[in-house]
C-alpha cells in the first residue's frame, strides 16, 4: 500500500523543489504567507507551553512540528468554509481567523475560548476523539442542500481513525457525497501509542478505499504540498464530487500535552531525521532567494507583540462569571435550574 499511496511532496528536506509543475505557483506572496503563519503559530505555541509551566495556563496540547499541516490546510480554505478542529489544532484555527486571546482563554478553562468570531464557522475543538467527523459531514451536507460552494474540513489524528465515529463520518459523507475534506494529521502517536499498534494498515490514506473516495498521502511537513492538496480536495468537494481523505504525515516534536512525558514511550532517536516544517521552508526560501532577514525580524517582532498582547488581554480578561454556569444550557432556563441558580447565587451572597 505504501507504493499505492506514495507520499506527495513538492519540496524535499533540503528545500529543493521536486515537483516542477508547481514552480509558478510558489510565488513570493504565497511562500511568505505560509511562512508567516507557521512562525506565528509556533510563537503562540511556545508561549503557551511557557505559560503553562509558570502556572498561568492549564494543561496544554502543543503542536510544534505540525505547523505545515495546520497552516497549509487552513490557508487553503475559503472564508466561508467550516472548520472542525481538535484540541491540537489551534494553529489551524488561528490561521483561519480564530481570536488568539480567546484561544489562550480556552486553555485556561474558559468556555469563552470556544466562541468563534462572528461569521467564522469554527466549531469548538473536539475533545472526545473522532466525534467531529460526523459533524463535519453534516455541516457539509447542509451546504450542499443550500446549494452553496462552501465546504467543510475536519481535523483528526492517527489515533482517531480507530474510533467508530471516524468510520461512520466517512461513510455518511461518501454516501451523501457531501463537500467535506477529512484531514488527518498522522503524527505517528496517539499519546503513547504508535501507529503500528493503532492499526494494521500501512497507511491511513488507504482507508479511503472502504468508502470509495479518494485517499491521498501527503508530506505533512511540506507546507506547499499540504496547501495544494487540501485546495484540490476542497475543489473536488465544491464541485460536487464528494469527500476526500487526506493523510498528512508529520511529527509531533514535543509531548502529547504538558502533562505528558514522551521519553517514557518514544525511542530517543525517533524523529531525529525529520526536518521540521519551518526549517524546511526556510531552506526553500534561501534556495529561491525569498529569504530576507529583515522581513523575518519584522514579522517576528510583530508576532511577538501580538502574542504578548493576547496573553495580556487573556490575563486581564474579566474573571469567569458564575452565572455563565447556568445561563447557556438552554435557550430558556427550566424552572428547576433557575431555582438552583438562584439559590447558589444567594449562597454566594451569604459569603
Amino acid at each position: 500500500m505504501n507504493t499505492q499511496y506514495p507520499i506527495k511532496r513538492i519540496i524535499d528536506d533540503e528545500g529543493n523543489l521536486i515537483d516542477a509543475s508547481y514552480q509558478d505557483q510558489l510565488n513570493e506572496q504565497l511562500v511568505k504567507d505560509l511562512y508567516y503563519h507557521m512562525h506565528r503559530i509556533r510563537t503562540f505555541d511556545r508561549k503557551a507551553i511557557s505559560l503553562q509551566r509558570q502556572g498561568r495556563l492549564g494543561t496544554y496540547a502543543p503542536f510544534e512540528g505540525q505547523e505545515a499541516s495546520q497552516v497549509g490546510s487552513a490557508l487553503a480554505l475559503n472564508a466561508d468554509d467550516w472548520m472542525f478542529p481538535t484540541y491540537r489544532d489551534h494553529g489551524a484555527k488561528l490561521t483561519f481567523g480564530a481570536d488568539m486571546m480567546k484561544t489562550y482563554l480556552y486553555w485556561n478553562g474558559r468556555v469563552e475560548g470556544c466562541v468563534p468570531p462572528e461569521g467564522k464557522k469554527i466549531f469548538p475543538p473536539a475533545v472526545p476523539i473522532a466525534t467531529q467527523l460526523p459533524h463535519a459531514a453534516g455541516a457539509a451536507w447542509a451546504e450542499k442542500r443550500k446549494g452553496t460552494k462552501n465546504a467543510a474540513i475536519a481535523y483528526f489524528g492517527d489515533g482517531a481513525t480507530s474510533e467508530g465515529d471516524f468510520h461512520e463520518g466517512l461513510n455518511f459523507a461518501s454516501v451523501f457525497q457531501v463537500p467535506v475534506v477529512f484531514f488527518n494529521q498522522n503524527n505517528r502517536y496517539a499519546i503513547s501509542v504508535p501507529i503500528e499498534k493503532q492499526m494494521n494498515s500501512e497507511t491511513i490514506a488507504q482507508k479511503a478505499v472502504a468508502y470509495g473516495i479518494p485517499g491521498v498521502r501527503i508530506d505533512g511537513n511540506d507546507c506547499f504540498s499540504v496547501y495544494f492538496e487540501v485546495k484540490k480536495a476542497l475543489e473536488h468537494a465544491r464541485n460536487g464530487n464528494g469527500p476526500t481523505l487526506l493523510e498528512a504525515v508529520t511529527w509531533r516534536t514535543g509531548a502529547h500535552t504538558t502533562a505528558d512525558d514522551p521519553t517514557k514511550y518514544r525511542p530517543e532517536d525517533q524523529g531525529k531525521g525529520i526536518v521540521e516544517p519551518l526549517l524546511r521552508m526556510e531552506r526553500f526560501m534561501k534556495n529561491n532567494g525569498y529569504w530576507d532577514e529583515a522581513w523575518l525580524a519584522e514579522i517576528d517582532e510583530k508576532i511577538k507583540a501580538e502574542v504578548e498582547a493576547a496573553v495580556e488581554a487573556m490575563e486581564s480578561y474579566p474573571k469567569a462569571n458564575v452565572e455563565d454556569l447556568f445561563d447557556h444550557v438552554y435557550a430558556n432556563m427550566p424552572l428547576e435550574l433557575a431555582d438552583q441558580k438562584e439559590s447558589y447565587l444567594a449562597h454566594l451572597r451569604r459569603g
Binding site: 464557522k121 460526523p134 459533524h135 465515529d165 455518511f172 444550557v329 438552554y330 430558556n332 428547576e336 435550574l337
Partner: protein, 341 residues
C-alpha cells in the same frame, strides 16, 4: 448561524380535525412541520421508502422528496452526529432512532455534543433538533427492542425529554419539540401507537413542554405516570375506585424538565403518591419524583411514596415481559399500601 431559507406560514384550517392514532398523529405532526418549515429534515433507518418500521413516516418521502426525508446508513452515531452538523448549519433535523434500545451507539454524540454545544459556545451554536424513539415493552418484540431508559437522558442537562400518551399530545409535543430552540428527545410508547384514536387538529398547534396534565381528579392518592403506563394507571384507578379509593391521575408528559408544580399541588392535596413506570426501579425517574415530593411536600405526606415499576433486571425476552411490566393489579396493591399505611 442565520439561515437564508424561507419559512412558510401555512394558513391554518382551524376547526378541522382528524381521528388519529398516536403513530398517525406523529406522522401528521412531521407532515405539518415539513410543510411549514423548509429547513425541517427527517433522517433515520428505513424511514424513507419504507415509511418506517412502525409506519410513522409513511408517505413523507413521497410527498417531500428524498433530500428531506432521508434513508440513512445503519449507524446511530452517524445519524445523530450528522444531525448536529446539519443543525448548527441551519437545518432542523428530526432523527428517528428505530427503537430506543438502539440509541446507545449514539449515546456519546448525544451526551457530549447534542446536549452541550449551546453551553460550550455560550449560545453561539445551538442544535434545534428532535430525536424520536419508540420505547417500551409489551408488544412481543425481539430482545433489546423494549427498553425504557428515559433517565439516561433526563440526567443530561441541555436536552429535554417528552413522552406523550395520547394522539393529541403526540402531535402537539412533537411540534413544540421542533420549535424549541434546544434539542428534545421524544419517546413514543410503541405499545400505545395504535391503541386508541382521538380527534387531532389538522393544523399546527403545540403542547407546552414542561407541563404535566391532570387526567383525573381525585382525593385519596396521586398516581403519576406517562406514556404507555397511563393505560395501566387508568385501569388501576378504576379498580381502586371500586374499592372506594379516589385517585387523582397525572400524566407527566414531559420527563425533563418535570412539572414540579402539578405534582406538588396534587400530593399536597391527597397526601399520598404512587409513581408508575416501566423502567427499572433503581435509577428510574420515580426516584426523581420521590425527591420532588420530599422537597416540596414533605409535611403533607401521610404515607411513604410507592413506586410500581419494572424490576431491577434487564427487560426480559417477551415470554416474560408481562411479568416485568407494571400491571393494574400491582398498581392497585401500591395504592392500597399507601392508603392503608
Amino acid at each position: 448561524m442565520a439561515m437564508e431559507m424561507e419559512v412558510k406560514d401555512i394558513p391554518q384550517k382551524k376547526e378541522t380535525t382528524q381521528f388519529l392514532t398516536i403513530v398517525q398523529a406523529v406522522n401528521d405532526g412531521m407532515k405539518t412541520l415539513l410543510e411549514t418549515d423548509d429547513t425541517v429534515m427527517i433522517l433515520g433507518e428505513d424511514i424513507g421508502k419504507n415509511g418506517g418500521v412502525f409506519r410513522a413516516t409513511e408517505g413523507l418521502q413521497e410527498k417531500f422528496g428524498a433530500d428531506r426525508v432521508i434513508d440513512t446508513p445503519l449507524a446511530e452515531a452517524g445519524i445523530i452526529g450528522t444531525s448536529v452538523g446539519l443543525a448548527v448549519n441551519g437545518f432542523k433535523p428530526i432523527a428517528e432512532i428505530q427503537f430506543l434500545g438502539f440509541i446507545y451507539p449514539a449515546y456519546e454524540q448525544i451526551m457530549t455534543h447534542v446536549s452541550r454545544i449551546r453551553m460550550r459556545t455560550m449560545g453561539h451554536f445551538s442544535v434545534p433538533m428532535v430525536i424520536r424513539a419508540p420505547y417500551g415493552a409489551g408488544i412481543r418484540s425481539p430482545e433489546i427492542h423494549s427498553d425504557s431508559t428515559e433517565t439516561l437522558f433526563t440526567h443530561m442537562p441541555g436536552i429535554k425529554v417528552v413522552c406523550p400518551s395520547t394522539p393529541y399530545d403526540a402531535k402537539g409535543l412533537l411540534i413544540a419539540a421542533m420549535e424549541d430552540p434546544d434539542p428534545v428527545l421524544m419517546l413514543e410508547p410503541m405499545k400505545s401507537y395504535r391503541a386508541k384514536r382521538e380527534e387531532v387538529p389538522t393544523g399546527k398547534y403545540t403542547v407546552e413542554i414542561g407541563k404535566g396534565k391532570k387526567v383525573k381528579e381525585g382525593t385519596d392518592v396521586t398516581l403519576i405516570a406517562w406514556g404507555a403506563m397511563m393505560t395501566v394507571v387508568e385501569k388501576a384507578a378504576e379498580q381502586a375506585e371500586k374499592k372506594g379509593i379516589s385517585c387523582e391521575i397525572i400524566d407527566l408528559r414531559t420527563l425533563y424538565p418535570i412539572d414540579r408544580e402539578i405534582i406538588a399541588e396534587s400530593v399536597q392535596k391527597t397526601g399520598r403518591a404512587v409513581i408508575v413506570h416501566e423502567a427499572q426501579l433503581t435509577g428510574g425517574l420515580g426516584n426523581d419524583i420521590v425527591s420532588i415530593i420530599n422537597d416540596t411536600s414533605f409535611l403533607y405526606l401521610r404515607a411513604p411514596i410507592e413506586r410500581v415499576t419494572g424490576f431491577d433486571v434487564p427487560v426480559p425476552f417477551f415470554a416474560l415481559e408481562e411479568d416485568f411490566l407494571p400491571t393494574p393489579a400491582r398498581v392497585v396493591e401500591g395504592i392500597e399500601k399507601v392508603v392503608h399505611f
